[in-house]
Amino acid sequence: MKKNKLYSGFATAVLASTVALAGCSFGSDSSGDSGSSDSASGDQTTVDVFQFKVEFKDQFEELVSMYEEENPDVNINVKTVGGGNDYGASLKTSFSSGEEPDIFNVGGPTDVDEYEQYLADLSDTEAAGAALEGTLTGVSRDDQVLGLPFNQEGYGMLYNKEVFEEAGINAEEITTFDAFEEALKTLDSKKDELGIEAPIAFAAKEKWVLGNHLSNAYLADEFNHSVTEAYEADTVEFKMGDQMKRFTDLQKEYSVQPVLSLDYSQQVEENFSLGKVAMIQQGNWVYNTVESMDEEFAQNNVGILPIPVEGYEGSIPVGVPNYWVVNKESEDEVVQASKDFLDWMYTSEEGKKFVTEEFKFIPAYEGYEDLEIADPISQQIYEYASEGNTLGWVFLGAPTGWTEDAMGVAMQEYIAGDITWEEVEQRATEAWEKARQ
C-alpha cells in the first residue's frame, strides 16, 4: 500500500501548505516604476515609496514624475498596495524580506510604536513646521516628529439637500439630539412624497462604521480629543454612553432594514447616491464614489450635518487618518531626498496645487488659505475645521483591533438584540483594559 501512503503524505503536505500560506497570503495591487527615468545611474538617488492609498495612485504617480523632472538626480519608485489590512501585511512582508521602503505610511500611535526603530525624525522638515496644530500629536515621541500627515478627513451625517428642502427641514438647525430626532420623524412621515425608502441607511455590517466612527464621536470628549491620551489610557469609561446608545438606536430605527447586512457600498451607492435615503453617517471619502454615480448630485446636493453630541453642538470629528514616514535605516542621502520630496509635495506651490486639486485632499498644513478645495464635502469639512468646530479622532489611539473587534462586534450584537447596552460597554471596557494591561 505504498501508494496510499504517498497519497496521504501528499494530502498532508497540501493541507500544511494551505495553512501555512493562509497566514501570509495577501492580494496586492502593486504597480512598479512610475518615473520617467529607467534605472538609477551612479549619481542618482533612488527613493522607494510604498503607499496604501489606491484612490490617488495615478495622481500621485503624476506628481512624482513632475518632481523627477525638476530634480533629475532623484529617482522615485512608487509601489501601491491597497486597502486597510493588505497594506499592513505587505509592509511587514517587505520589512521581513529585507526590501525595506524608504518612505511608507503609518496609521497612528500603534503603528508608530511598532515601527519606531525604523522611523526617522522629521522635525527639521518644512512640512512639519507647517502642519496644523494637533495633527502631529499622534506621531510625536519626546521631541521628535516621526510622521507627516497625509491630509485631514472628517465625517458626520451626509444629507441630501434636495430632500431636506422638500421636506421643509432647515439643516442648519439640526445640532441637538431633539432636533435630529424631529428631522428623522418628519422625513419618515413624508417618505412617500419625498420618494425615499427610509430617512437613513445605517451600514451596521461595517464594523468600522460603528466601532471607529460612531463611537468616536462620543469618546472624543473622554480623551480630550487627543489620540495620545487615548493611546495611553488604561480604560474607557463611556461617559457619553447614553448618547452613543441613543444615536445608535435612532440610526437603527430610521434606517432601511435589515441594517446588519447593509454594507458600505449599498449604503453609499445604492441608497444614498440614488436618492433612496436622505442621510448617511459617512465622511468626505465618499465623494468620488458618489460622483461616479451621479456627478450633479455630488457637486450640488450633498451637505454635512454634525453628529449630535451634547456639549459639542455643531462640531464634526476631523482627524488625520495616515502619516508619511521615512525609514532611517536608509542611507543618509536617501533619507534627505525623501524629506525633500515630502516637503516639496506639501509646501511648494506646484505641490500644494496638486494636493488640493488632484488629490482632492483637505490639507493638514498651513498655507493653503488661498487655494480652493476641490470637492464640496471636503470644503464644508475644512470650514468646520478652520472654525475650530471639531471633535478629535481618538479611535486611532484605541488598542489594536479594539474598535472593530470589540466595540464594533459588541454594537452589532446590541443591534441584533442579543445583548443590552450595558453589556456593550462592559465588554468594550474589558477588552480595552485587557489590551492595556
Binding site: 497566514g23 501570509c24 464594523k207 446588519l260 447586512s261 462586534v409 450584537e413
Partner: protein, 286 residues
C-alpha cells in the same frame, strides 16, 4: 519503484525543491514562530506554550472552530448527495446530458470571491424583493443573522462545488461494467437494489476522493466567507481560516495567529487522514 536511478531523482528534484521552499521550510518556520512573541517584524522572546494555552481560552477561536465543524459536516453531506445525484442524472440516456454537465460544472469556474458577491446580491437584494412581493418573511433579512449567514454559506458552497464533485462521480459511474448491471437485471433486481448492491459499492472509491476533497475544502474555505458575510454579523459567521487571518493582520498578533494555524492544521490533518483511512478500507477493488 525499484530502480531509483539518477533520472528518477532528476525528475523529482524540481518538485521537491518547490515543495521544500514554499511548503516545508515555511511550515517549520511557522511552527518555530508559534512559540515566540513574533509580531511580524521581530521576535524578542521565546514564550513556550503560552500562545497555545491562550488560544483555547479564547471564545472567539473556539466558536469559529465549532462554526467550521458544523459547516463542514453539512456541506460534506450535501455536496456528496448532490454530486452523486447530479451524476446519476446526467449519466442517464437523456438528450441534453452533455449540456447539463457543462451547466452544472460552470459555477466551479467562477472564482470564490466573485461568487460570494453574486450570492450576496441574491441573498440581500433578490431575496429582499421576493419577500417584499410575496410577503414571505423567510426571505427577509438574509445574512443579517447568524443562521441565515450560515445557510447562505452552505448554499453558496453547495452551488459552487456540486458540479465538481459530480464530475468525479461521473467518471466512476461510467466505469461500472455494463455486464454487472445487466446480469442483475436478468436476476430480477429492482432499480433500487441495483443501485444499492452494485452501483454504490463500485463508486466507493469516488467517495474517498470526494469526501476528502469536500472535507478539506469545507475546512479551509476563506474567500467565499470573506466576500459573502465577512464574518458578520458580529464575527459569528467567521470560519477558522478567517479568524486566523484576522488575528494575524488586523490584531497584529502574528505568533498567536501562527499557533492557531498550527492547531487548525492538526485538526484538519487528523480528520482528513482518519477519513481517508476508513474509506480506503471499505473500498471494493475491481
Amino acid at each position: 519503484m525499484q530502480n531509483r536511478s539518477l533520472s528518477f531523482w532528476l525528475f523529482l528534484t524540481p518538485v521537491i525543491l518547490g515543495l521544500g521552499i514554499v511548503v516545508v521550510i515555511p511550515f517549520f518556520y511557522g511552527l518555530f514562530y508559534s512559540f515566540t512573541d513574533w509580531n511580524g517584524i521581530t521576535a524578542t522572546a521565546f514564550i513556550g506554550f503560552e500562545n497555545y494555552i491562550n488560544l483555547f481560552q479564547e471564545s472567539e477561536f473556539v466558536d469559529s472552530i465549532w462554526f467550521t465543524v458544523k459547516f463542514a459536516l453539512i456541506t460534506v453531506i450535501l455536496l456528496n448527495v448532490m454530486g452523486l445525484g447530479l451524476a446519476l442524472l446526467v449519466t442517464r440516456n437523456i438528450k441534453s446530458s452533455s449540456l447539463l454537465r457543462t451547466v452544472f460544472f460552470m459555477p466551479n469556474l467562477i472564482g470564490g470571491l466573485i461568487l460570494g458577491f453574486i450570492w450576496q446580491f441574491i441573498f440581500i437584494s433578490v431575496f429582499g424583493d421576493i419577500a417584499g412581493i410575496t410577503g414571505i418573511e423567510g426571505f427577509d433579512g438574509w445574512l443579517s443573522t447568524t443562521n441565515t449567514g450560515f445557510w447562505g454559506l452552505v448554499i453558496l458552497t453547495a452551488w459552487q462545488m456540486a458540479g465538481y464533485i459530480m464530475i468525479i462521480y461521473i467518471a466512476y459511474l461510467e466505469n461500472i461494467p455494463k455486464e454487472l448491471i445487466e446480469a442483475a437485471k436478468i436476476d430480477g433486481a429492482s432499480s433500487f437494489q441495483r443501485f444499492k448492491n452494485i452501483t454504490f459499492p463500485l463508486v466507493a472509491p469516488a467517495f474517498t476522493v470526494s469526501m476528502f476533497l469536500t472535507l478539506s475544502m469545507a475546512f479551509k474555505i476563506y474567500d467565499q466567507n470573506l466576500s459573502l458575510t465577512n464574518g458578520g454579523p458580529f464575527n459569528s459567521t467567521q470560519m477558522v481560516a478567517m479568524e486566523i487571518v484576522r488575528t494575524a493582520f488586523s490584531d497584529n498578533d502574528m505568533a498567536y495567529a501562527q499557533a492557531k494555524a498550527v492547531i487548525f492544521f492538526l485538526i484538519v490533518a487528523v480528520i482528513a487522514l482518519t477519513q481517508v483511512y476508513y474509506n480506503k478500507k471499505r473500498e471494493v477493488e475491481m
